[in-house]
């Protein structure tokens, strides 16, 4: 008998079908991967197993845990299963913990809720569990509050909470998506180790094929609320029987065809750029502590070149992008845009701005929700002394250039999907034909298939308009796909710079090495067999 058996599970929320006919099973001690893009229904599947579907939803079918149908259990009994037989961790460790309770108490609570131990004993066992996930489990360790921990540490606490009672199965819903690559590697290692040591099954939900390849034995691919393909990792990865699986794989390893357009002439030069923030003061008369977010950074971006900037969160790359864009006043260092030199503290004039546009990450926050696309795309015309006569024509052309319909200009941003919005953002950046576009995590929030098309678009535009890109991302594989040169940033400094291929294949700096080491990759033996590609 399987440990957890989904039998034709269907879920509807307010008459909308969310999941249809989900059928798979997980064996004891097995690591099972559930892969899909956002909205594919993989989280709902997990919540259905936990009995935590949102209100207004109705589930049909069966979810058997050791032969017992969880869907048929009344809430009081289902409650006893949660935490005891089924543990679950979520994507966002920053908010998953109660900020006003010590982590010890929160881990111990799992034990107390199920009445397995006294308060003192529970804390003791919570300490053990914390140690098990690699955190100090002594009194001081137990007494820490969530805000004192980093994201990775918090995810460890969540894991300790979920495995406190040694459940038979741990459901991990995108457990590392919110984490940096190096932290991700550690958490994944921990999960794998726990599963092996404790004989616990792991249902790993992720969008990342490479993570599944590294972790799982069997895998199911979800698309639009249904499982399109399942089997051992080898089967699924190598055979790719379903068209969607093939699309997904192609997209996640996609590299746009690029034509080298880089010229020798530098168009944007940054010299000795530094920026420090005041830390929160202990009290108004205290000494002013400064945080050097950007520390003496210099680089040059050549015309038609694509320059990558990678680094983990907090390394200073966002500050650097804001400084380059003139959104924040430069405290020291100069900026040369084309021929114009901007000294420290000198505000960026409109003429300089004309040569420099930007595409941001967040497809939701990138547009004023109350403006129509036409007005949004036309906003950079403000940089010209006068809006051109044919500005409507130009907006239409820009929209068409990024693969949208000219009539889309009369719609509001919320009527578009994430990928389409990123196209609008690109159209907006293009409209006054800048020389440089800063792409600040421009594809990070997108699903892989959409990301691939946007990368293609960016490559095409670069070729057609001779644009220079400053491509800022935390994702090394994306940077590898689209840039000519790359800079690696850490703690405000550029630690390594070079041709992208060279850096990726032969990193010099230990940090770059560690970073590359941590990136999960699909092993060669799991690449599709030639005959599968039709």
């Amino acid at each position: 008998m399987s440990l957890l058996d989904f039998q034709s599970l269907s879920v509807r929320i307010n008459q909308h079908s969310i999941l249809s006919d989900i059928q798979f099973h997980i064996e004891p001690g097995e690591i099972f991967g559930l892969v899909g893009e956002s909205g594919s229904g993989k989280s709902m599947t997990a919540l259905a197993a936990m009995g935590l579907l949102p209100s207004g939803s109705s589930a049909r079918g069966q979810i058997l845990l050791n032969g017992q149908d969880l869907l048929a259990l009344p809430e009081p009994q289902m409650r006893l299963q949660r935490g005891k037989s089924l543990g679950m961790i979520f994507q966002e460790p920053m908010t998953a913990l109660n900020p006003v309770q010590t982590i010890g108490a929160q881990v111990a609570e799992t034990l107390l809720v199920h009445g397995v131990s006294s308060k003192r004993e529970a804390l003791e066992r919570a300490g053990d569990r914390l140690q098990r996930v690699g955190l100090p489990g002594d009194k001081a360790g137990l007494g820490r509050f969530p805000h004192e921990l980093s994201g990775g540490q918090r995810q460890r606490v969540c894991i300790a909470m979920a495995i406190a009672l040694r459940p038979k199965i741990l459901i991990a819903d995108e457990p590392t998506t919110a984490l940096d690559v190096s932290t991700q590697a550690q958490i994944l290692d921990l999960l794998k180790e726990l599963a092996e040591d404790e004989g616990m099954a792991l249902m790993l939900i992720t969008h990342d094929l490479a993570v599944v390849a590294q972790m799982a034995v069997r895998v199911a691919v979800m698309h639009q609320g249904a499982i399109v393909e399942q089997g051992t990792v080898e089967q699924v990865f190598c055979e790719q029987r379903h068209a969607y699986t093939r699309r997904l794989f192609a997209a996640s390893t996609h590299k746009p065809a690029r034509v080298a357009t880089a010229q020798s002439q530098a168009i944007l030069t940054v010299e000795g750029l530094s920026h420090a923030y005041a830390k929160q003061l202990p009290h108004p008369l205290g000494p002013r502590a400064m945080l050097r977010a950007v520390d003496n950074v210099s680089f040059a971006l050549r015309q038609g070149e694509s320059l990558g900037l990678v680094g983990e969160s907090g390394c200073g790359k966002s500050t650097l992008s804001r400084l380059v864009l003139g959104l924040e006043r430069r405290q020291s260092g100069r900026l040369c845009l084309q021929d114009k030199v901007l000294e420290a503290r000198q505000p960026m004039d409109r003429a300089s701005r004309r040569g420099l546009q930007v595409v941001f990450q967040d497809p939701a926050g990138s547009f004023n929700p109350r403006h129509k696309v036409e007005r949004i795309v036309a906003e950079p015309f403000h940089l010209l002394d006068q809006r051109p006569q044919d500005w409507r024509q130009q907006v239409k052309r820009a929209l068409e250039a990024v693969g949208l319909n000219a009539d889309d200009r009369f719609k509001y941003p919320h009527e578009f999907s994430g990928g389409q919005r990123q196209r609008i953002a690109i159209a907006r950046a293009l409209i006054i034909r800048p020389k440089v576009i800063v792409l600040d995590e421009a594809v990070s929030a997108l699903d892989v298939s959409i990301r691939a098309t946007i990368l293609d678009l960016l490559a095409d535009l670069q070729r057609d308009y001779g644009l220079a890109y400053l491509f800022i991302s935390h994702d090394l594989s994306v940077v590898e796909a689209i840039t000519d040169r790359v800079m690696v940033m850490r703690a405000g400094q550029i630690v390594e710079e070079g041709q992208t291929q060279a850096v990726m294949q032969n990193p010099q700096h230990p940090y770059t090495q560690a970073l590359l080491q941590a990136v999960p990759r699909i092993p060669e033996n799991l690449r599709p067999r030639p005959e599968a590609q039709t």
Binding site: R82, F90, T95, A96, N98, V100, V113, A162, P282, P284
Partner: protein, 314 residues
């Protein structure tokens, strides 16, 4: 923590200084001569001049301001123009009524609002929630003096369960004292409780959608258990802010209620002092109230630290 306390104290002193200057300048503008008010319609100019001098109403304002502030610091609030007794004594006498009244009303507010707000949140979108919220809307919508008069007519004049007003003094005993303050406290508390119950409800509802509540459910807690164990304490943070504001309001805002129930509290003192142009009393009373607000805000800030460990570190 010590640094944090010093910092708070310094900010507080600075605010008080600015506030004192504002109060002084504002009151210096008030037209109306206390001397002529005291001597009435038939007073001669000489008599007026003599009294003005007696009262120390002459002299340039910076000098009078300095004298006042230095007095304040030393606990000397000056002499009331009209009563000719120390202002500090007057204020202390009135605080003996106003402070217990404010605390009584605040206690009622909290005692009503907490359970009511929790019940409404726990049963959201049910009839009990709609009913409770409707009642709180009514509580907020009523002019409080009107409500107070209705209470007075019903409970004191018709039913005769409670005194219609007046305060016998604490020397008469705790029970008669509290009995006398009951109607005013209810009149003050119900609208405030309505506000607080609504804040409580929305604050609890807000926490219901936090990720950590889902984590708690995943551990095996019931929805109610998660609400009590994890939601409540987090929900308290905005509630505390409101409670702080309400205390300040109850202390100063009882003027009208004191009028209805003929209590001689601080509000009554200020009101009469304004009519009598007893500016030294007005000034010091306003200062005391501002001090109370700022002090309560500081206390609330410190209380955040108790509730929320994230704020403790500073």
């Amino acid at each position: 923590m010590l640094a944090f306390l010093t910092a708070r104290l310094l900010t507080m002193i600075a605010s008080l200084l600015v506030a004192s200057l504002v109060i002084f300048v504002m009151l210096d503008l008030v037209p109306g001569d206390p001397a002529s008010l005291m001597l009435g319609l038939n007073a001669t100019p000489e008599a007026l001049a003599a009294l003005r001098e007696q009262l120390g109403l002459d002299g340039p304002w910076p000098q009078r301001y300095l004298a006042w502030v230095t007095g304040l610091v030393q606990g000397d609030f000056g002499l009331s123009y009209t009563y000719r007794v120390p202002v500090s004594g007057l204020i202390a006498e009135r605080l003996a009524i106003s402070l217990p009244l404010a605390l009584y009303a605040l206690a009622l507010t909290v005692l009503i609002a907490f359970p009511v707000g929790m019940i409404a949140a726990a049963t959201r979108r049910s009839w009990s929630d709609v009913g409770i919220m409707g009642l709180t809307q009514l509580g907020i919508a009523m002019p409080n003096f009107w409500f107070a008069i209705q209470l007075q007519v019903l409970f004191a004049l018709v039913l005769r369960w409670l005194p219609a007003g007046s305060f016998p003094g604490w020397q008469a005993g705790i029970v008669p004292g509290l009995t006398a303050l009951t109607l005013p406290a209810i009149a003050l508390a119900l609208p405030q409780a309505s506000i607080l119950a609504r804040v409580m409800r929305s604050s609890v509802l807000e926490t219901l959608h936090q990720d950590y509540m889902r984590s708690a459910r995943a551990k095996g807690l019931s929805a109610a258990g998660a609400l009590v164990k994890h939601g409540l304490r987090n929900a308290l943070i905005p509630v505390l802010t409101i409670i702080g504001l309400q205390f300040a309001f109850l202390l100063a805002g009882a003027i009208i209620i004191e009028n209805v129930f003929y209590l001689s509290g601080l509000g009554n003192l200020i009101f009469k002092a304004i009519s009598a142009r007893d500016l030294i009393v007005v000034r010091s009373c306003v200062m005391v109230l501002v001090f109370a607000v700022i002090a309560v805000n500081t206390l609330v800030d410190l209380a955040y630290g108790l509730v929320d460990p994230r704020l403790r570190r500073r």
